[in-house]
Symmetry: D3
Subunit: 131 residues, 6 copies
């Protein structure tokens, strides 16, 4: 089977279905998104990735919305088209409105700019910031 085709629930082996079922139950959705259908080509990676994501993205010291916005900030920095689309949707679902998205993007843009200014000017770390 080509890795470049999604594996649908009806065609999935039991251990893949078990992960799909848990994603659907946890997220209260009727079907999993493409990311999981492609990862299903490697059931071990599918299972491990979902288990990690589920644990990491659960509300804790940071709430779910903050975590989704951080996820989106990384995806935008890396230029991952799929991830930007899916985590924009996830962040909106978790409560990100237009004003929040606008400020998030402004911070991401600014950080990418000043990261390079710091690189180019070869700025040494202030003793106050050092461990």
């Amino acid at each position: 089977m080509s890795p470049h085709a999604p594996i649908e629930y009806r065609d999935a082996p039991a251990r893949v279905r078990a992960v799909f079922d848990d994603i659907k139950r946890t997220r209260q959705v009727e079907d999993v998104n493409n990311f999981w259908k492609y990862l299903a080509h490697d059931p071990a990676t599918l299972k491990r990735t979902w288990a990690s994501l589920k644990a990491i993205m659960a509300p804790g010291a940071l709430d779910a919305l903050t975590k989704e916005m951080i996820y989106l900030a990384v995806s935008v920095t890396n230029g991952c088209g799929y991830c930007i689309a899916s985590h924009s949707a996830a962040a909106r679902k978790a409560g990100m409105d237009e004003a929040m998205f606008g400020e998030l993007m402004a911070v991401v843009g600014m950080a990418n700019e000043t990261n390079r200014l710091a690189n180019g000017y070869r700025v040494p770390i202030d003793p106050a910031f050092e461990r």
Copy 2:
């Protein structure tokens, strides 16, 4: 003057001092950190960068802590050593405790991992995520 030496307040021209003064007043600090002392080699960039940063990082739809954590997430993704040091300090000052830092790092790590899984499996964007 070499661009690889910080410009101290006592040696700075008036337009640089004006920016330094505003940074110190806004942040309630006694001196500006190295980033600004190096950027001072180009007063126009210094002034513009501080004006943008001041506007972008002010609390709005997102609070100051969330903004600092997003800034840190980008800096960690890009591997900017200076920025990681300075924005770790800024985020802590804004209220980030150890548990929050740990969860932030876990999300950043996970996003960087799944960004590449999405790239490598060439996952097409779900119609539900499309504009």
Copy 3:
């Protein structure tokens, strides 16, 4: 001629044809892929790039399959869509099966994750690893 159109063999000048011929002969293919047809807009870069690629990708201390997988790992990390498509195909042709692709992707994902954890926690290099 626009740089945004492929240069086909029939339209190519002699020095471009010479490179195309060598690619076809070396790879035992009937036509070169788009990368070379676009690079043909700059015959000097075309010639130099093919000469380097041919030398570097030839089996040596590392076999051809290992080299293609490393190439793919870099392309996935950088998010280069064309390169992921072409080097996935090349790696499969060189013998990468589904299980190997799955493990390759898992390593690439993990490395991208831990690279950021090391950045964010500002881990100093162990003396044992130092030159």
Copy 4:
């Protein structure tokens, strides 16, 4: 406790010691390297990261050496200083000699070059490479 200090075995809580013990046993080393001592500030991330790494890096369809070289290729592409140092050491331990390292680096350099040539020339994916 500062996140910018390593947590040594003698100071570690039981659940951190359990992970350190497993790392030492699996790798047959007397002490864990700094990466784990810093990650120990977040025991949940420490445990999850080690469990993932142990599973992913175990020989399977790809041998341990190939996996370490892929890890190194990603780390070099991302410019992660700590990761380059630690995975160079790990790859050498797994059998990478000078000639293999040289060829690995040549492939990594070439891939990073052609990734940008493909970007800049806006090369469309050949139908033959498409899913």
Copy 5:
């Protein structure tokens, strides 16, 4: 209004129109390109970004063409598809011909290659290059 739809002049509020008018006047174009129509969802970011871009890209110590080529080099390195398309067009408009584009791309490719060779070989900075 969705952030994933362009805001056209006729639908734009006054403060967005003011920026659009200045872009059109400065660039002598009949309409602004998509980048600005999307950024218009956040008028503050639109205004700040245009003001910065206008100041930075104006001829100064470096001419407009050199600045556009540097912009393109960064965009190609980051793999930003939109930016590569728009700044290729801008650089051509500013005078970049085929030969210049070819040499620009060759330098960008080479720099991306040697950046990784320097990383992987862990080359220490020569004292002569140090501040």
Copy 6:
């Protein structure tokens, strides 16, 4: 011999010396910089890299200074410390003064910022920019 030690001229084999000699002659310097002394661990990569660099960086449609500034822009974007140091020096030697460096850095920062804004707002390419 460790790859983490420079190979000096007196210890180099003939084919490495031949490259070192050509670098010194071409650049009119008394010794080669560390990059070449480390690459000398792999004479084939040393020879190929120098031959490519010499050809690419020679004045052509673009002058030497413009090429060095593009090289620096890429190195700053990638955050390669060695490359930033060495190509800052090379660009200064080729004529880059403080004002030019300041404008170069401003463009690099701006491009890195807008690359992410274009990513995050998912801006589609204008038909006018399409091939």
